[in-house]
Symmetry: C2
Subunit: 356 residues, 2 copies
């Protein structure tokens, strides 16, 4: 089933107004959720509304919190999110980084006491929209099992990077685990087995069965099950590299901000998430017009590379751009379970379910 | 066989003086080579001297080139290496980044027209020695096959990161391919098969046999064989993430510097390598003493994590620190083939081979 993106956007906005968010804030959340589904990232769009609903119901998200700059220099800032909605805090922090980059060339902003902020790529793309290079990352409750370990200890700790390019931004957005938590959830909803070593039990047994009983513990740090780092669970496949990338994320998020590190975050508690945002003006390296045009040529060379039969060499952002064109024309793809969740939340909040 | 590190250091210094390098430059190269072997990274220590010898003989490395800052702002610089020795250019560039970070909080330096610069981690650790956070990366002649592709197109594009910690720096240093080119060479020298999908032929066939005829083409961009990105060669295992990390390296090295991108580099030509160096003063996020002490605690928690039988959870830099203690006490580990190469170079340059 396909759902008109503008109608979904307005529905989400109404839900967020019904929670009690300011109209502008509800609109900003709806923009970000719809942006995510429009770009084909179903795991982090409306699929996430039931999780946010749980957080809002539990009082974990403060509807009226205002993000605050608690420390800054011309090239940096630390923001306290005061446990507000992650999307609102994230947008504030990336805009701060962008302003600093426009003045000083570089802006690095670390955030503490936030909540789940959606896709990291949204913020990196805000920088690219402003003609800058952008990075964003966030920590999370534990999901990643460090190499040789048994329990998850670090977050899935995604890193996003964006840079202006034609015909669309170069956009790289990835969990430092082999796949994000949301992808495992989507496969379980679709009753599909995992095609690779995404989930590891007892530190040695990859789980592929989407019905495996071990999966019940996947969000519990005490259970001997969790996600493999990018690079799998052996050093021969590069496990220590994904684990190391997650460490860099912990440093730029929890450590620089003085906020929670991933092992200190749990879904049920008031231990906020930490984020990082970086904007860089390429003009600090000289003539950025030449740089951008050379980059466009380089991307075209990549797309023209010989590929294995039936496939092609993509540039990061190509698939998201194709999904955007499709969703804009044909509507968002929302699975039945997720749609049912939205209906249930709407009923509780007394918001009309729109006709599609 | 073990070889006293100070004796090896002085030997390397004499060789570089015999090539015609200034005494201070010869000492700097010897420091860096010995540093690498002392930390157990045999693939990039004296093992690399025969490759540098080939480059010097071929006139690819200009012995008297002086690195030059051709563009700068308070937070950035572009350095032209004028095709000098990569180690000397890299040290100059990281010191420039460190000075800028001390003044402005952040220093980002991109380098063009350099040569192979040894291990990226050496430069990241220079920043950590100065109390800062350091990054370094470099591009290289092509080695990495982009996801769905058949030919190598990007470099092995390593990324290094270091941060001060106790009892030793946190130090992460990894190729964005599953393994660096040097690791494949070491396995072939040892006549060992590859334990994972490091090498890919025809875009679909992982090569494990160290004697496979396809390996003859591994350094030729025209041959349908090359290295898999970190994450392997399928999207299910995260191939596009390693490929994406290499793209970030290309942007920070070749693109920002206006120098060669990896597909433009080949061993035999005067198309210099491009590097990137970043130093960040953690004090731009507030009280760095608290940050460092919290980081030390975090690393200790990681080391104390339950591990699979017979293994342990390492922190990045632990293995290098253990190797350093061992090599300092017992001497460097140099394989017979490499030692014979050094003897041959010494004879040609009329440098005495020291007694061990």
């Amino acid at each position: 089933m396909r759902y008109d993106s503008q109608t979904v956007h307005d529905w989400v906005q109404q839900l967020y107004e019904a929670y009690g968010f300011e109209a502008g804030d509800a609109q900003a959340v709806a923009n970000m959720i719809t942006y995510t589904d429009l770009h084909g990232i179903a795991s982090h769009g409306v699929q996430r509304l039931s999780m946010y609903d749980r957080f809002i119901q539990a009082g974990k998200i403060d509807l009226h919190a205002q993000p605050e700059i608690v420390f800054e220099t011309p090239v940096s800032a630390v923001v306290d999110g005061h446990l507000g909605m992650g999307q609102l805090i994230g947008t504030f922090a990336m805009n701060t980084a962008i302003q600093k980059a426009k003045t000083s060339g570089v802006g690095i902003v670390s955030v503490r006491n936030s909540n789940h902020y959606g896709i990291a790529g949204y913020y990196a793309n805000l920088a690219a929209d402003a003609g800058l290079i952008g990075f964003s990352s966030t920590n999370s409750n534990p999901g990643l099992i460090p190499t040789n370990g048994i329990h998850s200890f670090l977050g899935t700790d995604p890193i996003a990077f964006a840079m202006p390019a034609k015909p669309h931004h170069f956009w790289l957005d990835f969990a430092t685990t082999t796949v994000p938590q949301g992808k495992v959830e989507v496969y379980r909803k679709l009753e599909k087995d995992f095609p690779a070593d995404w989930v590891l039990a007892d530190g040695t047994r990859p789980i592929h069965d989407h019905n495996a009983p071990e999966l019940a513990g996947i969000r519990q740090q005490s259970a001997p099950v969790g996600l493999t780092p990018l690079g799998g669970f052996t050093e021969a496949t590069g496990s220590h590299k994904g684990y190391g990338l997650a460490m860099i994320v912990e440093i730029f998020t929890g450590l620089f901000s003085g906020g929670a590190l991933s092992p200190e975050i749990s879904d049920g508690q008031h231990a906020g998430t930490s984020h990082s945002f970086i904007a860089i003006d390429p003009a600090i390296f000289g003539d950025s017009r030449t740089m951008f045009s050379r980059f466009d040529d380089f991307l075209q060379q990549l797309r023209a590379q010989p590929a294995v039969a039936g496939k092609q060499v993509y540039v990061h952002g190509d698939k998201e751009a194709a999904a955007y064109a499709d969703r804009k024309a044909n509507g968002l793809v929302i699975d039945d379970k997720t749609f049912a969740e939205l209906v249930k939340i709407s009923q509780r909040l007394q918001v009309d379910v729109p006709e599609f």
